[in-house]
Point group: C2
């Protein structure tokens, strides 16, 4: 049977995640993998989960097992509202912050629309925009003046994949562009609470609350297995997102929301965050130290003030896609940087994750990678 | 600020659920409500949840808290595959069966496409098809011959809203139409395992596995708070659904999937299902008895062999939308039947739910409703 004819006109624009495709073919636990973007399991409050489950059932009876409100349970929305100093009416809970991105695509994009985005840009966002047949252009470019974009998408804090953090001036420039073009901003903030050094910079939402949808995530500060995130934004925008969300999945996972509310409300999240930040700061410093120790001349990297990633730039003549099979066969994995560019350029770059790999594998992994790069130079 | 200009061309086609809108304005717990479609909380295995949580963490460590596979965790996919006698490659876990509907819309529909559907049709499906600007037509109609539909959508077992079950002949007719037009079938089966009387009929998937996507749900046999469902279907279709699901939310809730897998795998689901079926059978019989006792001449209803709903047809001159405010003010709620018709016809019908209402409220509720109808005749 030929199934091709049944699909919608959007389907040819669907991109598979190169990262998830790697996971399908290789057991990354057997090698030194800097490829994924998973948080470290040691940061999860695993021991607390059974007692959280008992507590929410004792406190709320069968409510955590029933259908819930489309906007999210009031208890969790109120805690997020308090944490970010916004009215509760400006908070929508999402089934993962990936859903936050997807629902923005769904509600704002038509085929042929333009999104101005980070360059390199987060893969999950690129996939979502492309799946709605939007064009993705770098936000800071001369193209801006000529095109009619629909919104700006950026990760200002500890960017995935680049590891960079926007300065206040860069954020103000984003706001200036958005106001000049009279368009919205989607500020993706999954790592904002994971700062290891330097001073916090005002969020874009704080600079332009009238046109910013800020996406948050519990995946890196609680656990990704619960698939919970949130959107903070102007009520008229959230109202349409709410209606769209009814179609998507009626409501976010209810039981998981009660666990999260109990975790946040009791103060356990903040206590856990202190430990998580200490863990990741140590890992970042270890990684940067190893890069300094092993990488050959001509290799440079970003120094992330937070988040889970850093970004390597190799000498121009090296193609990290071509180098990948050799790296994998020798036992080290990364994500080639060109996948984060819509035009697949910057073939001499790569993204390295420092949150997930076993610490014992960090040194052999970086040493191996340095050797492969040295041979390729 | 005028936000209207930011929205996509799909947004004007978004429909709010009339049911969810009722929930936003009225506290239904204070009245006799037959409106919602919630399962009875007494059917949830609430007492077992803390020990399920402990078990899965003891058995799988931190895996239930980490990101998981986009297709769903292998443990749960295998159990579903076994339960429905299909290969595991034909099973995709979804974040609710509403997501199953939405992902089918996303992957198969373009604006202007036609979906042939039940008439009356499940509201969540209607919302989803409309949000992709598809046209929804009754599956059994002369229109079929003239139009070029994309797929057929039906709930063959214990339909929501009508309570009806398709005979084998009716299912074979659906398959005949689909094969003749060479189109797909989306068989929505959230209630299939909730049969209280009569004999099971072959599913449409069993009759036409090459072109059927069968949607299942844990909401009525475990608990809706976990937002878990599944799709069984041909691999080439699931492959695109898999890529789409990466954009939607990366993966279904992982912790909840492990709870479900433990619940199914240990046999607890089947044990709980026996109790659930007994509970709902009693409620259905109670409801039907009360209708026979109180409803005036000229009112008829379906006798559901399973599921959560029955369907009332009143004398032609009664408008259940016009009658709604009076009913609500006197303390009884229902969903007007016309909302389940794309043309808002059949204004003398209503959907009654018998699973969620307190049993003690059933008799006063039906008596009240009968009085209001008698006055309106």
């Amino acid at each position: 049977m030929d199934y091709g004819k049944y699909f919608s006109a959007d389907v040819p624009s669907f991109l598979k995640s190169p990262v998830r495709e790697i996971f399908r073919v290789v057991d990354l636990s057997q090698i030194c993998s800097f490829a994924g973007g998973y948080p470290a399991a040691v940061t999860f409050p695993t021991d607390q989960i059974p007692s959280l489950a008992e507590k929410v059932l004792a406190k709320y009876g069968t409510k955590p097992l029933q259908y819930g409100a489309t906007q999210g349970i009031p208890e969790l929305r109120e805690l997020i509202a308090k944490r970010y100093s916004v009215p509760v009416s400006q908070v929508q809970i999402t089934t993962s912050s990936q859903q936050g991105i997807d629902v923005c695509s769904r509600v704002f994009l038509d085929p042929g629309d333009i999104v101005l985005a980070d360059n390199p840009v987060y893969l999950g966002a690129l996939q979502s925009f492309k799946a709605y047949r939007a064009e993705v252009l770098p936000v800071i470019s001369s193209v801006v003046e000529k095109s009619r974009p629909k919104f700006i998408y950026v990760i200002p804090d500890f960017n995935n994949p680049s590891g960079k953090t926007m300065t206040l001036e860069e954020r103000e420039e984003i706001v200036r562009i958005a106001r000049e073009l009279d368009i919205l901003i989607v500020e993706d903030s999954p790592y904002r609470e994971l700062r290891y050094s330097g001073e916090p910079v005002k969020s874009i939402r704080e600079l332009a609350p009238e046109r910013t949808l800020q996406l948050g995530s519990f995946s890196k500060i609680f656990a990704p297995g619960f698939r919970l995130g949130w959107i903070i934004g102007p009520e008229p925008l959230l109202e349409q997102i709410y209606v769209c969300k009814q179609c998507l999945d009626l409501c976010p996972p209810v039981f998981d929301q009660y666990l999260a509310a109990e975790f946040v409300g009791s103060g356990a999240l903040d206590a856990n965050l202190v430990k998580t930040i200490a863990e990741y700061r140590r890992r970042r410093d270890l990684m940067v130290g190893l890069l300094e120790k092993y990488m050959p001349q001509g290799v440079s990297w970003t120094y992330p003030e937070g988040g889970l990633f850093l970004w390597l730039t190799l000498p121009e003549n090296i193609d990290t896609v071509a180098m990948y099979d050799e790296a994998l066969s020798k036992g080290v994995a990364y994500v080639a940087g060109c996948f984060f560019y819509t035009d697949r350029s910057h073939r001499n770059t790569m993204r390295l994750n420092f949150s997930y790999i076993d610490e014992a594998k960090m040194e052999p992994g970086i040493k191996l990678l340095a050797d492969i790069i040295r041979n390729a130079v």
